[in-house]
């Protein structure tokens, strides 16, 4: 047991990566077996992630050094430096890892039926596994160049998945091209920033860079580049143009994983701001920049969502809007980071709200995209004007949609309410106006989802959808799992905040501990 735990960080990456290339081989013999095999592998990865989570939440950060047992290498001159690739998993990393594991596992379960009729399944599942690998790597790695590599793996896999249905429709290729351009620019700027760090300090390990960071002009340039491109990859306004296209054109299960992939970039943004720079930068200014990005995302996202007619496009704009909440919560925490009194009073609370919202958003937005996929699976359209009366035929999907919509609009007792309430309360003490905008956005979100519910599910039975039935079991199971998580988080938010979210927030705030776990042993 302990030896599995010892190598679990490597296994979480290795398992999906190796399975990705075994999948086509299995596909040659038995086409049906692929989907079950992939679901099994991702389920195993989920178990491993839970194992790591249990270890980290009771014993603190986990470090895995590839190719050696020691973190550092002592040169003949007596200078010790970490040169190897290190996986450095702390409270925040495993928090994101759990989201990735749950979401990618459920995507595989959902795809068993959802993609059944589609050709080229082995390619689809290979890419899904690669995407999961890339996301895990981004979240677990402690090496900044390694982060770039995993970012590119995730980008390439997600682009290919967005464009996966380009044989059936025209638009997926267009959305894929757009996303590829955005993510290549983002990754190259990250690479350039890596070069700036390496040129100055000669190290690639994030904890070591954080320790020796001088905050020179070059560091400021690197900070601007990293913050901008990671906010772009996270889909924040005004760099959000790719989000609605990519989310709406990808298959529904993939859209759910893409949401988690954007959040992995968001995680990297927080990691750069908190663990790499922390109080060396002018936290008030950078905090306000992130807050303004957040407020813009919230407001513009939701106003654009209201006018949409395509159900997945509408939900994609809501995803932008919800990203704003996370940026707002964590931005407030960053703004008061240098002020211990305010940090204690409401800063930590605001960050808890923002970080908790990441997990909640992945769950309810995933559920909503899956219900949109279920509607598309049965009706063959995403146009809200063509749907109607589907509550008569699709009982479970309707229930799941109501749960997801109530959660995103922040109605108790669902999880969206729990995190939004924490954000409102704490942000109000920082600046009341921000809190009021956040509430207003929440109301507009509810309005928009009432519209979707009304036009898709209510009304008389339509002639063309007479024979529509409930979706197959695997899809129902995936949606039901997410719905259960949403209700559970909504009923016991204290438990989740205390045991999962709070350690994540403390891991971000406490930079000294982050550097000490790597450098302490030297």
């Amino acid at each position: 047991m302990s030896s599995i735990l010892m190598h679990a960080p490597a296994l979480v990456i290795a398992l999906p990566l190796l399975a990705a290339f075994i999948t086509p081989v299995i596909g040659r013999f038995n086409r049906k077996a692929i989907s079950w095999f992939v679901a099994f592998i991702l389920g195993l990865t989920l178990l491993l992630t839970l194992l790591i989570a249990r270890h980290i939440l009771s014993n603190g950060s986990l470090i895995y050094v590839f190719g050696a047992s020691e973190v550092g290498l002592t040169l003949p001159s007596g200078y010790t430096v970490p040169i190897r690739i290190i996986f450095h998993i702390d409270g925040m990393g495993i928090f994101m890892g759990l989201i990735t594991a749950v979401v990618s596992f459920l995507a595989a379960v959902y795809s068993i039926s959802f993609m059944e009729q589609h050709s080229g399944l082995e390619k689809y599942y290979t890419l899904l596994l690669l995407l999961a690998t890339g996301m895990f790597g981004m979240e677990f790695t402690g090496d900044i160049f390694n982060f770039f590599v995993f970012l590119e793996i995730a980008s390439i896999a997600s682009v290919a998945l967005i464009a996966f249905r380009s044989t059936l429709f025209d638009e997926p290729a267009e959305a894929g091209f757009k996303y590829m351009v955005v993510s290549s620019i983002a990754a190259l700027m990250v690479l350039f920033a890596v070069g700036l760090f390496y040129g100055q300090y000669g190290v690639l390990n994030m904890a070591t860079i954080a320790k020796v960071l001088q905050f020179t002009h070059l560091d400021k340039i690197a900070l601007i580049l990293l913050l901008t491109v990671l906010a772009m990859k996270a889909g924040s306004v005004p760099m959000h143009m790719w989000t609605p296209d990519a989310y709406s054109e990808a298959p529904a299960a993939i859209t759910m994983v893409l949401v988690a992939a954007s959040q992995a970039s968001l995680y990297a943004l927080f990691r750069v701001a908190f663990s790499l720079y922390n109080v060396t930068l002018n936290t008030l200014t950078v905090g306000w920049i992130i807050i303004i990005l957040g407020v813009l995302s919230m407001f513009i996202g939701v106003t654009m969502a209201i006018i949409q007619k395509d159900i997945k496009r509408l939900m994609a704009y809501h995803a932008i809007s919800q990203t704003g909440y996370m940026l707002l919560g964590v931005g407030v925490g960053l703004a008061v980071l240098a002020n211990p009194v305010a940090l204690e009073k409401f800063g930590i609370k605001a960050m808890e709200g923002g970080i908790f919202h990441i997990m909640n958003h992945a769950m309810y937005k995933g559920l909503l995209f899956l219900t949109a996929g279920a509607l598309f699976y049965r009706t063959g359209t995403r146009d809200l004007n063509k749907m109607g009366g589907l509550a008569h035929n699709m009982f479970y999907t309707t229930i799941f949609f109501i749960i997801g919509a109530a959660a995103i609009a922040g109605i108790p007792p669902f999880n969206g309410f729990a995190s939004k309430l924490i954000i409102y309360e704490s942000v109000y003490q920082f600046n009341p106006l921000l809190s009021i905008i956040a509430m207003l956005v929440s109301i507009l979100t509810l309005a928009s989802f009432v519209k979707v519910f009304h036009s898709a599910f209510l009304g008389p039975k339509l002639e063309q959808y007479k024979s529509v039935q409930e979706v197959p079991k695997s899809m129902v199971v995936a949606m039901a799992t997410l719905a259960c998580i949403i209700v559970f988080f909504g009923l016991f938010p204290d438990l989740i905040v205390k045991y999962i979210v709070h350690p994540a927030v403390m891991a971000l705030i406490n930079q000294a501990q982050y550097t000490a776990t790597i450098l302490g042993g030297m």
């Binding site: 894929g176 590829m180 290549s184």
Partner: protein, 115 residues
């Protein structure tokens, strides 16, 4: 002074790439723009590891007492080149599919997704 020329070249490559991305309408040219930025980043990394008069960092083959260039940036650049091939291939194949479906490579006409 002359030692800074590679960095100037990096800036020029970045500038040209960003110019291409912003002002060119053809999908193939956009792919070229990304490749330019990528080459700029690779050149930047390689230049960081350069030492004047140093030899290749092959430990067993190096003569005694001679400086070696930094091996890490070269490893980074190699990785980045490999990744670059994958992104370029994906970009070009997507451009091909778009041309098949839309009959054009002009970004002004490939605008079905909007609003």
């Amino acid at each position: 002074m002359i030692g800074n020329f590679p960095f100037v070249a990096v800036i020029i490559l970045f500038g040209l790439g960003i110019y291409t991305l912003i002002y060119k309408k053809n999908l193939i040219k956009i792919a070229i723009g990304i490749t330019l930025i990528e080459n700029g980043a690779n050149l930047f990394l390689i230049t960081l590891g350069y030492r004047k008069g140093a030899v290749a960092p092959i430990y067993t083959q190096a003569p005694e007492g001679v400086k070696m260039v930094l091996p890490t940036p070269q490893a980074l650049t190699l990785t980045s080149i490999v990744i670059g091939v994958a992104t370029t291939a994906l970009l070009l194949s997507l451009a091909m599919i778009i041309y098949k479906k839309y009959g054009t490579l002009n970004t002004d006409e490939i605008r079905r997704l909007r609003g």
